[in-house]
């Protein structure tokens, strides 16, 4: 199949790789793409069309059309004509039932049936309503582009990067290179991006021009232009932002000047059978011959409106293709054109004259590729003389170079569209929209191009209108008996071509955070999981209950470094906190701790934590782990508004924290702490400074998990040292590390809330059952008015503890049901060994919130009984905390 070695071919015949297609091995040369290697192996059918499952072959060979999409190594919708194979690459056909050559769904092409009429989505699967689920099943199978394999575990990591360029040139063809060179010579910093492996554009497929292009590229690089290959511009956004897809990186370029040197898009001609395999665009045929030394066909007919077709005919002849006829529309526009063939084109009949052929090259007038310019709101106008749309007014900071400007060389005649009659004339290759569909759409009243587009779905497929927008406008103009200028264009929006979700979901600005003791957790066998941006231990063994037991019976240690930690300092510090919290802090004694929730002016809880007074003018505030940044910003914001005499510092990362808890916690503290830890000297809710294992520390005596506990705050760099010391000295009491899961069980036994888990965007402190932390006698605080209104209207719901006598476990989020209707929800639930029951918290209607009241919750599909418990399940009096 290969031609003898040709000058300038892109393949290296001394190197081969082997991949598989549908399980069969295929050999390729270095420089081949999957598509070219399959073509070399004799394959002509590369895909099945979206709706009618018509056979489709290579059309553009430049990654622009939908025809050659296959599933490569489990990733669907890969254009194989531009994807090089690697050793062992697994390639599969898609959108077929059966095989590419015998696709069972192809009956839809012949029998018509429900798929045929335009707007079938809107018309067909409407009634009866009960059948919708079946319709959906059927449609999902029949339609769609490829399948995502949920078992493909290849995890592509995408990074997002920012870059700046004085001039960003998009497109590395001749005019792009020349523009880049000119800007670089004028002393500007220039980056040029190109989709292919090397710049040169379509001239790389032109044997006479290829060396000129290569030396131009070398000269441009020498002038200091940074040339990025395999880089695809996704769009042009405001402020000249151009996100560039580089495979595993999304580079967001911000440029002072963007030069669109995006060239033209070759356009198909519209005639019956124009989508048969073997009907190609000029570049497709040329690339086969010149890049990969393949003969695109034995005998060809060329249909052209410009010089491209004529040149292509010459090049094909040089590759040994017999040219049966060149039909030059500039001399005479034929009245009818019909291509025939089954597996591929076999003949072309022009005005009744039949040519046998296995290749038809069609060259409609090339359309300037103005997509990027249109994103930037350049004005685009129809040029009736040439039958193309050209950009006419550019926004500031945006330039256009070369053919994209409409400077497309020799004048062409506007191509006609040859309508139906003998088979389907495809307007939109992606969505299988025919000239007849447009006729029907217009007849049904969808006569504006915007409506016709949505109704027929033309231009809405993977090529994003590249190959069909112009023809769609043309056909619409014909059907509505107006002209293309009146019809106008559809709105071009980014992205210019399909973008994988994975690329956009690249890693966020904040990287994963680990505490200073992270490696110790790993060494001790912790299972680590994400909580917000933190990586934290879930538990250290397969049995979180064992860790709970250790805390209740002896001694547990948990890393709580993720807590937000803020310092509030200054003469106004107390007054400042009084204004931010419903609770009061100005009267807190130095060395004491008080709990507080934060509310916004809607009276809704958004965070909670403890506040310790370190000095008259200094407070140490902890927040939830996920709330640290938000609370700090909130404090800073109000400080910017109020201008009080306070200073704020976020010391979250600088300070590590460990909670030492359990009946033996004091014994351990006696060993490692250099102060008095007797219950008199260091009482519950006291805050003391001192040293732990020689490290300066602030100790808060609090009890989130319900046992005697000390929270040690100390400089992060000493994390591992302190952690090790606690386990060394705690060995006697079998000190046990515990993770987040056991902590959740422990705190639930105390019905201590987790903000965001047991509260939501509607929760206020009164209905969250915390009236004691609201001091409505204060003059003002953020949220006061709204909470007062809640109090005046009366409580409607309440957050309560509950147990499930049946022992069955509802899911978190399960409905609380009253009279068959949802009336609340379960916010937390766990099995507690200590209590011997399934326990939880739920938001219930106020009249069901009394101690011992029974209410219904949904477990699985059924209703079960839960009983309200208003007291903590464990140590209700708090005796252990105070012991």
């Amino acid at each position: 199949m290969r031609l003898p070695p040709r000058e300038h071919e892109l393949i290296d015949r001394s190197k081969t790789v082997t991949f598989t297609f549908e399980g069969e091995p295929v050999r390729a040369f270095a420089g081949d793409t999957i598509g070219s290697a399959l073509f070399a192996a004799g394959r002509r059918v590369f895909g099945r069309s979206f709706k009618y499952h018509r056979r489709r072959g290579l059309l553009c060979c430049s990654g622009q059309c939908p025809n050659c999409m296959m599933t490569v190594d489990g990733v669907p919708n890969v254009r194989v004509c531009v994807r090089p194979p690697r050793e062992g690459t697994v390639v599969k056909a898609q959108n077929v039932v059966g095989s590419l050559d015998r696709d069972l769904m192809a009956v839809t092409d012949r029998i018509g049936g429900p798929f045929t009429p335009v707007g079938f989505y809107y018309k067909t699967f409407i009634r009866p309503r009960w059948a919708w689920p079946y319709y959906e099943k059927f449609l999902r199978n029949a339609a769609g582009l490829g399948k995502l394999d949920p078992h493909v575990t290849e995890r592509r990591r995408v990074d997002h990067e920012h870059a700046h360029a004085e001039v960003l040139v998009v497109g590395g063809g001749q005019s792009g290179l020349e523009a880049a060179l000119a800007h670089a010579r004028a002393g500007r910093q220039v980056v040029l991006i190109d989709e292919g492996p090397e710049p040169g554009g379509h001239q790389l497929a032109n044997r006479e021009r290829i060396m000129t292009m290569r030396s131009l590229a070398a000269e441009t690089a020498q002038a200091g232009v940074e040339i990025l290959p395999f880089a695809r511009a996704i769009g042009l956004y405001e402020g000249n932002l151009v996100p560039v897809d580089r495979g595993s990186t999304l580079v967001k370029f911000r440029a002072e000047t963007v030069v669109a040197a995006t060239g033209t898009l070759e356009q198909p001609l519209v005639f019956a059978g124009n989508d048969l395999p073997g009907v190609m665009l000029p570049a497709g045929a040329r690339r086969l011959a010149n890049y990969w030394s393949l003969r695109p066909g034995e005998r060809a007919v060329v249909l052209t409106v410009d010089d491209r077709g004529v040149e292509t005919a010459r090049e094909l002849e040089a590759a040994g293709v017999e040219i049966a006829e060149v039909v030059d529309y500039r001399e005479r526009v034929p009245r009818s054109v019909v291509a025939k063939g089954r597996k591929q084109v076999r003949s072309l009949t022009v005005d009744g004259k039949r040519f046998d052929c296995d290749l038809v090259v069609m060259s409609g007038s090339p359309q300037p590729n103005y997509g990027l310019l249109a994103h930037a709101r350049a004005r685009v106008e129809f040029d009736p003389g040439r039958g193309i749309f050209v950009p006419v007014e550019l926004p500031p900071g945006v330039e256009v170079a070369g053919e994209a400007s409409g400077d497309v060389g020799s004048p062409a005649v506007p191509p006609p569209s040859h309508g139906e009659g003998e088979g389907k004339s495809i307007v939109c290759f992606c969505e299988d929209v025919t000239t007849k569909d447009f006729k029907d759409a217009v007849a049904e009243g969808f006569d504006s191009i915007q409506l016709a587009k949505r109704y027929t779905t033309a231009t809405m497929g993977p090529c994003q209108g590249r190959l069909c927008h112009l023809n769609a406008v043309r056909v619409a103009a014909r059907e509505t008996r107006t002209d293309e200028g009146t019809i106008g264009t559809t709105t071009a929006r980014p992205p210019t071509s399909p973008v994988s979700m994975g690329l956009l979901a690249g890693r966020p600005h904040e990287a994963a955070k680990r505490t200073s003791m992270h490696h110790r957790h790993k060494d001790m066998g912790a299972t680590v999981f994400w909580t917000g941006s933190w990586r934290r231990p879930h538990s250290y063994s397969a049995d979180p209950q064992a860790e709970v037991r250790a805390v209740h019976e002896s001694l547990g240690v948990i890393d709580v470094s993720t807590l937000g930690k803020l310092l509030v300092k200054g003469p106004d510090a107390g007054a400042f906190l009084d204004r931010l919290y419903p609770n009061r802090f100005s009267d807190l004694k130095v060395g004491r701790i008080r709990y507080g929730v934060l509310t916004n002016d809607a009276g809704r809880i958004f965070d909670d934590g403890t506040v310790a007074r370190l000095a008259d003018d200094e407070f140490y505030v902890t927040t939830t782990s996920t709330g640290a940044d938000g609370v700090f910003q909130w404090f800073e914001w109000w400080n910017a508004v109020w201008h009080m005499d306070v200073e704020l510092a976020n010391v979250t990362g600088a300070v590590a924290a460990v909670n030492v808890t359990g009946p033996n916690a004091r014994k351990l503290m006696e060993r490692v702490f250099d102060g008095d830890v007797g219950n008199e000297a260091f009482a519950y809710l006291d805050a003391k400074r001192g040293h732990v294992a020689g490290v300066p520390a602030l100790i808060l005596r609090i009890g989130f998990v319900g046992e005697l506990g000390y929270e040690l705050h100390f400089p992060s760099p000493h994390g591992e040292h302190v952690w090790d010391a606690l386990f060394e000295h705690g060995a006697e009491w079998n000190a046990t590390p515990f993770g987040l899961e056991p902590q959740r069980i422990l705190r639930l036994e105390k019905t201590h809330i987790l903000v965001g888990q047991d509260t939501d965007a509607e929760s206020n402190p009164l209905e969250a059952a915390m009236p004691w932390i609201v001091k409505l006698d204060k003059d003002d605080f953020i949220g006061k008015w709204a909470i007062e209104h809640v109090q005046e209207r009366g409580l409607r719901s309440l957050l309560v503890g509950f147990e499930v006598p049946s022992g069955r476990m509802p899911v978190e989020g399960a409905q609380v049901v009253v009279g068959g209707k949802s009336a609340g929800r379960v916010t937390s639930v766990r099995y507690s060994e200590q209590v011997g029951k399934v326990i939880g918290m739920a938001i219930v209607p106020i009249d069901l919130s009394g101690e011992g009241t029974t209410f219904e919750i949904r477990i699985g599909g059924e209703l079960d009984q839960a009983v309200v418990r208003t007291q903590p399940f464990h140590d209700p009096e708090g005796a252990k905390l105070r012991s």
Partner: protein, 83 residues
């Protein structure tokens, strides 16, 4: 949104470095009625044109500042520290 914003402290930066906290509102000085409260908390003017809004230099110096921005074009008229 994609434009440059000038932090009064750090100078022009990518807008992604900042957090926008919405239009400047005035907190009532006296306890409002339920209606006024809801208006203050939930209703924004949502101007099509130039308005004043809060910004926070999140991935930078951590300054809260005010910007006058045209919401229809994203042209930033000016930025300043709160008085």
């Amino acid at each position: 949104m994609s434009f440059l914003l000038t932090c009064p402290h750090c100078g022009p930066r990518e807008v992604e470095e900042f957090r926008c906290a919405g239009e400047v509102t005035t907190r009532p000085t006296e306890r409002p009625g339920l209606r006024e409260l809801n208006e203050y908390v939930f209703f924004k003017n949502n101007v099509a044109g130039v308005h004043r809004e809060w910004w926070y230099h999140r991935h930078g110096c951590g300054t809260w500042f005010l910007a006058e921005r045209d919401t229809t074009t994203n042209r930033v008229v000016r930025t300043e520290l709160p008085a």
